[in-house]
Amino acid sequence: MVRVELCFGGGLEALLGGQKRTPVDVPDECRTMGKLILWIRDTLISERHDMFMKDDCVRPGILVLINSSDWELEGTTQYVLEPGDSISFISTLHGG
């Protein structure tokens, strides 16, 4: 198990009943970002899965952050979680 903090923002927190920050214990076999995303879908999100995922990855329009960095800078789905990491999923906004 690895304990990390999940953050949801930009409206995505609605998928978790409005909760923006959730500490979670992720099973060792889900320690990569790719597997974490599937684990979140199956464990934490009870409906509207299409607001979170598309084709086994995060849907377009969601910014994924690993400790305040764009996950593109950290290996995207290959990144291996460290204890204490903060992982954020922020919906891109378009309003003005």
């Binding site: 930009g10 377009p60 329009g61 952050l65 960095s69 378009h94 309003g95 003005g96």
Partner: protein, 303 residues
């Protein structure tokens, strides 16, 4: 009688006395041409503070025929009941002209009458500006504007707000060799599904939230315009600011660098003509429709 120049010095004196800013930065502002696209909750404070700060020319563009509605008034503070029904960009232009008569304020009309910025005219629209502000409210405009700015190498200060959340970043390289600023498309290579896109009109927005982001857009535009004259100032390049009004928290995230394969901003100079052709022939409708072909919203002119 007061001389025009004395009047100008007095107007900007509290900025010019600021050591890191000074007379040189004020001169940069006075020579700058700025395009603000969108005259809503973001565009109002952005245009007001840019005119106040003394930019030389301010062009305003909104969807043609988009008029002030009473439901705009809680957040679009340049308007009031007297201008309900008036063309938005025109009403905003009138306000900022009064705010600073020294600023040359134009309501930019698209080449194709009756249409706002769209794929066919965007590149010409942004040409010649020192900086463009994306204060729009829809996905298509954001891609069209960014693609045009990427091709023309015009920095783009992009803001967005909805509900109690806001986002801000500076996109598009100015063309300097070592500038690895991504364009909007580098960071968002695939458009979001339409059912995941909210708007202030449908989802609601707390009035002052776009006020924060629009005012920050004015600050970022000033920093982009002044460059090294504004000593120590660093525009928000390769960074995105995330604002949550619920607990007044701000986070800064590090963004990826420019994508060397990006169809809009790739630095591969041999393919410049290719890039332009590819972007000009780009099918925005198909791109945006993605998973929901048949929805006609994306076919309407963007702004």
């Amino acid at each position: 009688m007061e001389q025009p120049q004395q009047e100008t010095v007095e107007r900007y004196s509290r900025q010019m006395v600021l050591g890191c800013f000074g007379v040189e930065s004020q001169r940069c502002l006075s020579r700058a041409r700025v395009l603000v696209v969108g005259a809503g909750g973001l565009g109002c404070p952005a245009a007001m503070y840019l005119a106040g700060a003394g930019v030389g020319a301010l062009c305003l563009l909104d969807r043609h025929g988009d008029c002030v509605e009473r439901s705009n008034l809680h957040r679009q503070i340049a308007y009031n009941d007297a201008v309900v029904g008036v063309d938005k960009a025109e009403a905003l232009a009138q306000f900022v002209r009064n705010l600073n008569p020294r600023c040359d304020v134009q309501r930019l009309d698209s080449k194709q009458h009756g249409v706002g910025i769209c794929a066919a005219n965007a590149e010409q629209m942004v040409q010649g500006f020192d900086v463009v502000l994306d204060c729009t409210d829809n996905v298509m405009s954001r891609y069209v504007l960014s693609d045009a700015c990427a091709l023309q190498k015009v920095p783009l200060v992009s803001g967005a707000a909805i509900g109690t959340d806001g986002q801000l970043s500076v996109y598009c390289s100015s063309g300097a060799k070592d500038d690895d600023t991504p364009c909007y498309r580098c960071v968002h290579p695939v458009a979001p599904p339409q059912h995941c896109v909210g708007s202030c009109d449908s989802a609601g927005v707390l009035g002052p939230v776009p006020g924060i982001i629009g005012t920050l857009q004015a600050i970022e535009a000033i920093k982009v315009i002044c460059g090294a004259s504004f000593v120590g100032a660093e525009p928000l390049r390769r960074k995105m600011l995330l604002f949550d009004a619920m607990d007044c928290s701000f986070r800064t995230m590090k963004l990826r660098a420019r994508n060397s394969a990006c169809i809009a901003c790739s630095s591969n100079s041999t393919s410049t003509q290719n890039r332009i052709t590819r972007v000009n022939e780009y099918d925005y409708d198909a791109f945006l429709m993605g998973d929901s072909a048949g929805d006609s919203a994306a076919a309407a002119p963007a702004i």
